[in-house]
């Protein structure tokens, strides 16, 4: 169904562009990751940039906002050539970037982070109050409930992302670039943010918007630029561009279905039983059972305590359990090492902070959690390790420019696949994946879903923690919904709908009603 959707000429349009990039190229150490990228952004426009993981979207955005300097090409602002030597130059010109990665100083408070480099003073003295109030107002506007006094270290990923957005939005802005702002947000937090973006648009701000959530793109974008493998595919009017069409432009072929067909099977034998789990401050009296071969979804809003439940189980935080049984055998894990030895694998939601050594090459990252398995003898089996990496790159479809790359140089999606490969080296029989597709493009997502399904087909059992309800509904056999540290409800079969999950996730009163309704009908 290739409709005649001609790329819109980059220079048409009635409004003069604020920012225009012409034939930008970027190389890292001789490897070209972006070539010949041209686009323009007009005031009052939301311009989406989409592409697969590693397509070069973030690189392009960094070029536009002074974090990187182009190897070739030119930037023009209001028609005049301009060069940014540092991000502060771009900021001074009114261009702000909301990073894909969280770039905040963890040891400082929210307010301090928001005002780094542009502190408000009165007679040379910091005006804490003014800053705190401005920060609170900005946070409130984008729907972030974090306290301005909180240390960033103590915030959840989602709140960090919101703080980062608040930081970027503060001040006069002509161009705001959002690089996957919603990747770590839950359903409830996305809507206020999108409203803000639309408001900015109405104020005449030019907006660049990157997301792998194509429905958001469809909702917001006026024009869409598609990148593939570091090259421009084209810029299109959003009018009539369906998510499915966007997906096929991104991957260069027709794209069919996101979720694999549901498996029909009998699930009886318990694989993991948790009884009366308490994690002080986070989880209160949670009990759950995962059956062998099951994909169990764990839904909830930020702060529901899902991550903490499993960190407690792994011995990474103080926690108490009535009982934990793995395949019927009582277990107690004092450390992640014991857990993985018992066949339990947990994949963290924070891949940069807790998952990968960003400055280390790929092979050591891959084998870090399974050193005893991969290297059974005293010395490292370097050749074997290289083979493992080759195999992981092939079977998880990790896209990279060089096998000597550092993990931090991979695009987000490929980092996630590397992490999956890292976990699977330990051959776990029960797997918990926290946010499996955060920041992952649609094609990769579908690969990961297929992968998860293949895991349970092999007889493993899997818990998927996700803030994307769609994903849980499309993938899971059953969904437990957590709220404020408790299991607030369970949905199965035909009851698995966004509205039901959302109900349990947000309201305890509603949950009782809903469960009654479910019971009756």
């Amino acid at each position: 169904m290739m409709t005649a959707l001609a790329p819109s000429p980059a220079t048409d349009g009635t409004v003069a562009p604020v920012l225009r990039a012409a034939r930008l190229c970027k190389e890292f150490g001789g490897v070209t990751v972006l070539s010949d990228a041209s686009l323009d952004i007009r005031p009052g426009e939301i311009h989406a940039v989409i592409g697969e993981n590693g397509a070069g979207k973030s690189t392009l955005m960094r070029l536009l906002s002074g974090y990187l300097r182009p190897s070739e090409g030119e930037l023009r602002m209001d028609g005049a050539p301009i060069a940014f030597h540092a991000p502060s130059d771009a900021q001074a010109a009114g261009i702000a970037l909301v990073h894909q990665e969280i770039l905040l100083a963890e040891a400082l408070t929210v307010t301090e982070n928001i005002f780094i480099g542009r502190e408000i003073t009165r007679f040379g003295r910091l005006d804490e109050r003014a800053m705190r109030e401005a920060a609170a107002a900005q946070l409130a506007e984008i729907g972030c409930k974090a306290s301005p006094r909180a240390l960033v270290r103590d915030l959840s990923l989602a709140n960090r992302q919101l703080v980062q957005i608040a930081k970027a939005l503060l001040g006069t802005r002509r161009v705001v670039i959002f690089d996957e702002p919603t990747a770590v947000l839950t359903h409830d937090e996305v809507d206020p943010l999108l409203d803000i973006i639309l408001k900015l648009k109405q104020r005449g701000v030019a907006i660049l918007y990157i997301s792998h959530r194509l429905d958001e793109v469809e909702r917001l974008a006026d024009r869409v630029t598609v990148l593939r493998d570091g090259r421009m595919v084209g810029t299109y009017d959003a009018e009539g561009l369906t998510p499915r069409r966007m997906a096929s432009l991104m991957v260069g072929r027709e794209f069919s279905s996101l979720y694999p067909p549901r498996l029909e099977r009998e699930l009886t034998e318990p694989a993991l039983e948790i009884e009366h789990a308490h994690v002080p401050g986070f989880v209160k009296d949670v009990s759950l059972t995962l059956r062998k071969g099951e994909i169990l979804g764990l839904a909830g809003m930020i702060g529901a305590g899902r991550t903490e439940l499993f960190e407690g189980l792994l011995g990474l935080r103080a926690a108490s359990f009535g009982a934990v049984r793995l395949h019927g055998k009582p277990v107690h894990f004092a450390s992640p090492a014991q857990a993985s030895a018992a066949g339990f694998g947990y994949l963290t939601e924070d891949r940069k902070g807790k998952g990968l050594l960003l400055d280390e090459r790929l092979a050591p990252n891959l084998t870090l959690a399974a050193l005893d398995k991969v290297h059974p003898f005293a010395g490292l089996d370097v050749a074997g390790e290289a083979q493992l990496l080759d195999r992981a790159v092939a079977s998880y479809d990790i896209r990279l420019r060089s096998l000597d790359a550092k993990a931090g140089q991979l695009s987000g999606g490929n980092q996630q696949k590397l992490l999956l490969a890292k976990m699977m080296l330990n051959d776990p029989s029960v797997i918990v994946i926290d946010e499996p597709t955060r920041g992952i493009d649609i094609a990769n997502k579908s690969q990961i879903y297929v992968f998860i399904q293949s895991l349970v087909r092999e007889g493993r059992s899997c818990i998927v923690i996700s803030s994307e309800m769609q994903e849980l509904i499309g993938l899971c056999d059953r969904i437990l919904v957590m709220r404020s540290g408790r299991i607030n409800g369970e949905v199965t079969g035909d009851a698995m709908s966004e509205s039901n999950v959302a109900l349990y996730a947000t309201s305890s009163v509603a949950s009782e009603e809903a469960s009654r309704e479910n019971a009756h009908g």
């Binding site: 770039l103 100083a105 480099g117 542009r118």
Partner: protein, 330 residues
């Protein structure tokens, strides 16, 4: 979005000493108690005044070090810098004293400050522009300052001119309303330091640079300038300490200030500043300096410890003080 107003419980933390920062003060209190039990003379006004006065040097230098360390640096050269500044100052005063009389003293103080600024600038430039690990850079300048003072004094000692000695004496031995002057000076330095670190743009940026250099840079902060300035502040503090120090010992020798750097860093860390940067505690630092001096004092006042084991007991006490400090944090 409605309920953002219902802000989370906010503790009153207006003048940056929260409960979590009480560690060094608890350790200090514990030490004072132990001291009193060991030897009641410990709490005599005279002894306390002596000890606190003495701790002033380390405290003043350590306040500067709080800036350097919280900005993510480290300065090992402070001890030799103190010796160097003392030497320069005394030589200068002795040189001008015959012509200007006691006016040599304020002039000497000015020279000390200028020298301190220059030394700090040197350290800061090597670290930031040369991009050399502060540990190594300041280890290098430590040798340089120490050698200069040795060279200037021909390997010996320079004593302050007899004609100046009495006029200068009150700077260490005098008091205002019974409070010894060095204590007043160090309180003043701490007040200014706390104001700068907690209440000015520079202080905020200093900590930000220490917390995350990239974030600071991306936010348009000149990391180079902030770090260099921290070293300059350190230089000024060393100069102030040297100015107070001269009348006490009346001379600069090549061993003046030996190993002060270790005491200074220990005071800063005991005080709750993070050695990795991103967190500075001026009042904690002051408490840390007093703690160290109290420990040394206790060693002299108590009679159970063999002379040979003093260092061991000090080591143990420092570790215990750190444990107390840590424990109170969680």
């Amino acid at each position: 979005m409605a309920d953002v107003a219902a802000a989370p419980p906010r503790t009153q933390q207006n003048w940056s000493i929260g409960w979590g920062d009480a560690g060094p003060f608890l350790a200090l209190a514990a030490l004072v108690l132990i001291g009193f039990l060991i030897n009641p003379d410990f709490l005599s006004a005279n002894n306390i005044a002596n000890v606190v006065t003495r701790s002033a040097f380390i405290a003043i230098i350590a306040i500067g070090a709080t800036f350097v360390i919280s900005s993510g640096g480290l300065d090992l050269s402070v001890g030799s810098m103190a010796a160097f500044i003392t030497g320069v100052m005394i030589l200068f005063m002795n040189w001008v004293a015959p012509s200007v009389g006691t006016a040599a003293i304020p002039l000497g103080m000015a020279v000390a400050l200028v020298t301190g600024i220059a030394c700090g600038l040197l350290n800061g430039t090597i670290v930031t522009v040369g991009r050399i690990e502060p540990f190594i850079a300041t280890l290098g300048t430590m040798g340089i300052f120490r050698a200069f003072i040795t060279y200037m004094t021909d390997g010996g000692t320079v004593a302050i001119d007899r004609s100046l000695r009495d006029a200068y004496r009150p700077v260490y031995f005098g008091d205002v309303l019974g409070v010894p002057i060095p204590i007043l000076v160090s309180l003043a330095v701490a007040l200014v330091g706390a104001y700068v670190l907690y209440r000015t743009r520079y202080g905020r940026r200093c900590v930000a640079v220490g917390a995350n250099e990239d974030v600071a840079r991306y936010s348009g902060i000149s990391v180079t300038r902030v770090r260099t300035l921290a070293f300059v502040i350190q230089g000024v503090c060393v100069a102030i300490a040297a100015i107070c120090y001269v009348p006490r010992l009346g001379a600069a020798t090549p061993t003046t200030g030996l190993l002060w750097e270790l005491q200074v860093i220990t005071a800063v860390v005991i005080g709750g500043t993070a050695l990795r940067g991103g967190r500075g505690r001026i009042w904690g630092t002051v408490a840390g300096a007093v703690i160290l001096e109290f420990i040394a004092n206790l060693m002299v006042l108590s009679d159970f410890v063999s002379e040979y084991l003093v260092a061991a007991v000090q080591g143990v006490i420092i570790i215990i003080a750190m444990l107390i400090q840590r424990m109170s944090k969680r």
